[in-house]
């Protein structure tokens, strides 16, 4: 019988130069502090020795063009490549120098996909989508020079309206938990992104976050009040710039009813940064 051996969520632009350029020295310092915490979390993750690592993250219109935007997508196949962006600017540069290919855990990916369709989740499947910083910045920070276990990348459409609901993302996480429990593998699950930034996806509001909303969300995770989080509306997420919380909702579904421990919380101004772990062992 399988089980989830490690679960965490964290902000995913773990790139000091980006915040140094766009926020200044205090932004650089804050993300450097977060990176140290994530590296320490990586030691716990590596010690749990998962057979597979499910990474729940979003696409920043790097992979899925407007031709088709899946609400929820499972990456299947044997391996997955790093996104390549010529003349990359800003957060896309966080990918420079990382390995070009990573293994995919075919068995778990196929099980999540196939059992999902049987259970009424119309997941999209991709055999070719590459990974951008939302996946690889946390994975590379967690693992450093250690070998990365086979991945199961899982995309949530966080940005192109209409997005899946928080409730649906939570339900998808419950599905992942059932698949893991029924399978033979030890599985780690991480979700990435956030906290609040880019409210309303409006250029005029770049530079604003919503610390009140973020403190409330984190407090609900510490309390294990998943019903309140799953009840968040698309308008609340959009207005506060909490679009990427949808990734975290999938993780919450996977670990529910576990409560979170806050490893890092920082209010930067442009974004609020966080890293949380859940006691699942």
């Amino acid at each position: 019988m399988g089980r989830i051996v490690y679960a965490a969520a964290m902000s995913h632009v773990l790139y000091p130069d980006y915040y140094g350029e766009n926020v200044g020295p205090h932004g650089r310092k804050m993300v450097e502090e977060l990176i140290e915490v994530v590296r320490d979390m990586g030691r716990t993750l590596a010690a749990a020795a998962p057979d597979a690592l499910v990474v729940v993250a979003d696409d920043h219109l790097n992979v899925f063009s407007f031709d088709a935007v899946p609400a929820l997508c499972v990456r299947v196949g044997r391996s997955v490549s790093r996104m390549v962006q010529d003349d990359a600017i800003e957060f896309d540069r966080a990918l420079d120098g990382l390995p070009e290919r990573y293994p995919v855990h075919e068995g778990l990916a196929n099980a999540i996909l196939e059992q999902g369709l049987q259970a009424g989740f119309d997941f999209a499947a991709s055999w070719s989508a590459p990974l951008d910083h939302a996946f690889l910045s946390p994975v590379s920070t967690l693992y450093g020079d250690r070998p990365v276990p086979p991945l199961v990348p899982f995309w949530v459409n966080c940005f192109v309206a209409p997005q899946p609901t928080a409730q649906r993302c939570f339900a998808a996480g419950r599905h992942i938990a059932r698949v893991v429990a029924d399978g033979p593998w030890k599985v780690a699950v991480i979700a990435t992104g956030g906290l609040s930034h880019f409210p309303e996806l409006s250029l005029a509001r770049v530079g604003q976050s919503d610390p009140v909303f973020d403190r409330r969300a984190v407090t609900l995770m510490e309390a294990g009040d998943h019903a309140a989080l799953a009840a968040l509306t698309a308008k609340e997420l959009h207005d506060t710039g909490s679009h990427e919380l949808l990734n975290w909702l999938v993780l919450l579904g996977a670990v529910s009813p576990a409560r979170a421990r806050v490893r890092f919380f920082g209010e930067m101004g442009r974004i609020d940064l966080a890293a949380l772990e859940w006691d699942v062992a």
């Binding site: 219109l61 407007f66 962006q85 010529d86 003349d87 600017i89 940005f159 005029a204 770049v206």
Partner: protein, 70 residues
């Protein structure tokens, strides 16, 4: 508002270096044949990023097109 066409062009500007070069050197020709409103076309021609965002252009694309700042 042709939100789809606006974002398809922004996506191509990010991902297609040849199209990006054509747009930089002659935006009018690069945009020929696209299904944009006149207002959207003018925003592209001026490279008016705030206006393109107001017209439905996705923020993450507008912030990450190489060589075309905001």
């Amino acid at each position: 508002m042709s939100r789809y066409d606006t974002n398809v062009i922004l996506y191509r500007l990010k991902k297609d270096p040849a199209f990006r070069d054509r747009f930089r050197s002659d935006p009018s020709t690069a945009l020929a044949g696209t299904d944009l409103t006149e207002e959207e076309r003018q925003a592209f021609m001026r490279w008016d990023v705030p206006r393109l965002n107001e017209l439905g252009g996705m923020l993450h694309l507008l912030l990450s097109i190489p060589g075309l700042g905001h």
